[in-house]
């Protein structure tokens, strides 16, 4: 072996890596064009009063069921759960590892946990179901899958087990009406409550309450700086903070952050955003399709104004967010580099975790609304008294469903019911890292609910943050008007078409009008392929109109 030659080769490779690494050092100089903020903030995360964080595994839910000893109800059975891959301490999958020992000791059954990447979960599940192989007993599914899962007769309802004393008791009435509606389909119970998704607005409380900013904002816009209540105000606040240093690092930051990558769930932004432009007191349901013809409605003047407004807002965020998924968009806010965003409950919880620079500064509120909406039924814009605000259950609301081909369906329900009990759910919702977002009365602080502030403080929350956060979710899920969630066969295909065309509008490949027209064309093709009349019937049922 020629050692000299080998040494030289190694040295060359190491030198090359060093050169690449040197290039990878982030640029430290401020970017041109930004304005300095007044006042100059203390670098975030360096304050003395930042509360302690609670790491994954440090706070555990109580053990609720006893070991079965010689009288195990499901001895010898195996329950296999398929869940989005996130690991033993990760969102949604984490609690299954945590509860495994308790479940196995109480039932005599064995629990297998199969983690698959988010993008592979639905295809793998559908392959298992269409071939009838019954590899998975439980899928921790996204709510929008229900159209395909129920429509294809692939999952079991649990109505007969819900009140059966053999299973752990959980209370479906404890779930707020918005997320509760996702647990049932056609009047039957299919999903066992777990996560409760919905988008709320997050804002930097320290900035909004800052007297200097208040004065400067009032001078510029003629009204007081406050938590935005309409999308117009949201725009003003985003515009005002855009380009200012928001975290004390000497670099200009952004007015807002969003995740707009194709496949990065950007279409959810549009859904929550567009709701108050279309849904209103006189039109609580019609957003997606005409229930009589299944003609798409998503190119209505209301949808168009919503998309034009959304595209206009994009200028106050980093250009890079057109290529961002959830993680990058959230990270931008958690670094203190954006003043506003609207997204799921995870962000509020992540703001409390180690590494966040906005703990104690993260306010939350129900999404802003509009002062008028386009009534699709009458074809007219309707002015409202006050603000037209629409709650939403946008997102996956990841919860367990039981396969029709399961060989251990009762054991599977036992597991899901155990995890849905009030005692466990409260801890799941409080600690954040496990991805379970609040949506039950028992998650909220009085007077809205029955949780205690100490439950959340023990999980590491800042008191102001948690009060804002739980109130925002309570307001969102208890809003009189709720965004109509689409749960028909092919939902993922419809949403993918929307996602792609929204991205085209956001990146100026199409005008908002062209993007919505293209979405309609795709929707029509999908409906025709899946069968217009069949789709219409299911859509009407899913809206509760039948």
């Amino acid at each position: 072996m020629n050692l000299t030659k080998t040494w030289k080769s190694t040295a060359f490779v190491v030198a090359s890596m060093l050169v690449v690494s040197a290039c990878a050092v982030p640029a430290a100089t401020p970017q041109p064009g930004g304005q300095a903020a007044a006042p100059t903030p203390t670098p975030l995360g360096q304050e003395e009063n930042v509360a302690q964080t609670v790491k994954a595994g440090e706070l555990k839910p109580p053990v609720l069921v006893k070991p079965c000893g010689d009288n195990c109800p499901f001895k010898g059975q195996t329950v296999t759960v398929i869940v989005n891959a996130a690991g033993e301490k990760g969102p949604i999958s984490g609690p299954f590892y945590e509860v495994r020992e308790e479940f196995e000791q109480a039932t005599g059954a064995k629990l297998n946990i199969v983690e698959v990447p988010f993008a592979e979960h639905f295809p793998k599940l559908m392959t298992d179901l269409t071939t009838g192989s019954g590899q998975y007993d439980i899928s921790v599914a996204g709510a929008w899958w229900l159209g395909d899962l129920v429509g294809g007769d692939y999952i079991l309802n649990y109505d007969e087990w819900y009140n059966d004393p053999r299973f752990p008791k959980w209370d479906i009435e404890d779930v707020q009406p918005g997320p509760r509606s996702l647990l049932t389909y056609g009047g039957k119970k299919y999903m066992v409550a777990n996560d409760h998704d919905g988008q709320v607005m997050y804002y930097r409380r320290d900035l909004i309450e800052d007297p200097a900013h208040k004065a400067a904002f009032k001078e510029k816009y003629g009204y007081d700086l406050k938590v935005p209540e309409t999308w117009k105000e949201f725009r003003d606040v985003a515009e005002y903070f855009d380009g200012k240093d928001l975290n004390g690092d000497g670099k200009p930051d952004d007015g807002l952050t969003m995740h707009l990558k194709v496949g990065g769930q950007g279409m959810f932004h549009f859904m929550s955003f567009a709701a108050p432009f279309v849904i209103g007191p006189e039109n609580p349901n019609l957003f997606w399709f005409d229930p009589e013809t299944m003609k798409p409605l998503v190119d209505s003047p209301g949808h168009l104004r919503a998309l034009e407004t959304l595209v206009d807002l994009i200028q106050f965020g980093p250009e890079a967010m057109m290529g961002w998924s959830l993680g990058e968009a959230w990270d931008h806010f958690l670094r203190g580099e954006a003043a506003l965003t609207f997204t799921w409950g995870d962000l509020g919880a992540l703001a409390q975790q180690e590494g966040s620079r906005v703990k104690g500064k993260t306010g939350a509120a129900i999404l802003p609304g509009t002062t008028e909406y386009y009534n699709i039924k009458t074809g007219q814009w309707v002015k409202v008294n006050g603000i037209n605000r629409v709650g939403n259950t946008t997102g996956g609301s990841w919860a367990g469903v039981i396969s029709k081909f399961s060989k251990a369906p009762e054991a599977a329900y036992y597991l899901l019911a155990l995890m849905a009990t009030k005692e466990k759910s409260l801890i799941y919702a409080a600690r954040g890292w496990d991805g379970v977002d609040p949506g039950r009365f028992s998650h909220y602080l009085p007077p809205a609910g029955t949780a205690k502030i100490d439950d959340y403080l023990a999980a590491g929350w800042d008191e102001k943050d948690i009060r804002d956060y739980t109130q925002a979710y309570f307001d969102n899920f208890s809003a009189k008007l709720q965004f109509p969630y689409l749960r028909i066969p092919g939902t993922f295909e419809y949403w993918t078409a929307l996602d792609i065309h929204l991205s085209e509008a956001a990146t100026k490949q199409k005008t908002p009008e062209q993007a919505l027209k293209a979405t309609v064309a795709d929707f029509e093709a999908i409906t025709d392929r899946l069968g217009r009349e069949k789709q219409r019937e299911i859509y009407v049922t899913s809206l509760g109109l039948k």
Partner: protein
Amino acid sequence: MAGRLFLLPAVVWVLVFSIFPLLYALYTSLHSYRFGRINEFIGLRNFERLFTDANLHSGLRVTLTFVIVTVLVQMILGFALALILNRELRGKSVFRAIMTLPLFATPVAVGYLGITVFYEQNGPVNSFLSSLGIANIPWLSNPFWALVAVIIVDIWQWTPFVFLVSLAALQALPADLYEAAEVDGASPAQTFRHITLPLMAPTLFLILLLRLVESFKVFDIPMSLTLGGPGRATEVYSLFTYRTAMRFFDHGYAAAQGFLLLVIVSVIVALLFRRIGQLYELER
């Protein structure tokens, strides 16, 4: 009889792994699907959709752009590097070793790595460019630059293949021809034009063939780097087919798309094989 028995494994292999999937794909393509299951027989309607589907045509356009640019650059760059390193140079073996490293990386991993490398806010590439005074490039958020990013990653990964095979072929060229040319006073350009290029032509066509076929099937890198976006800017044909089959469970239409790709690639392969055949005949 014994001779036929020897053939049996090969026949079984072809039947099970080529003929049966092909026939099953044909059967699939003649049906519509609902809830991931066969719904009804629809004849050639899936094939008719191939001609009217604007989204598919967009995928074809992106794929053609991708194939032409990547294969052209890889061929030129790989062959040029092989020519440079096919001579006595200091550190030649180190360069050769480093050059081949990208080949051993998994394309999906390379795609995910690309997200970091092309990260627009202080990512390595933009940081390097900004140190040269070049403004931030919107690598992943702009339709044009996103396609450029996908192309760069593919070129980075597959140029070494062209380099490696070209180098091996160059080293196998008969030295006496070059010695004779040198004696006759041929310039390096003349030597390249009249000796190297003609002798290398069959190999280069073979490399071209392999790279064309592979490039038409590209999937991993755009899937992991951009997911086909922004919009459909990087949605290559295979990604479109994958979505049709594994996201929308429209297996019939996906099978028809597979046949279209098979036809396109087969035509290209046939043309190139014909050309390679002509070259070999010329050599003889």
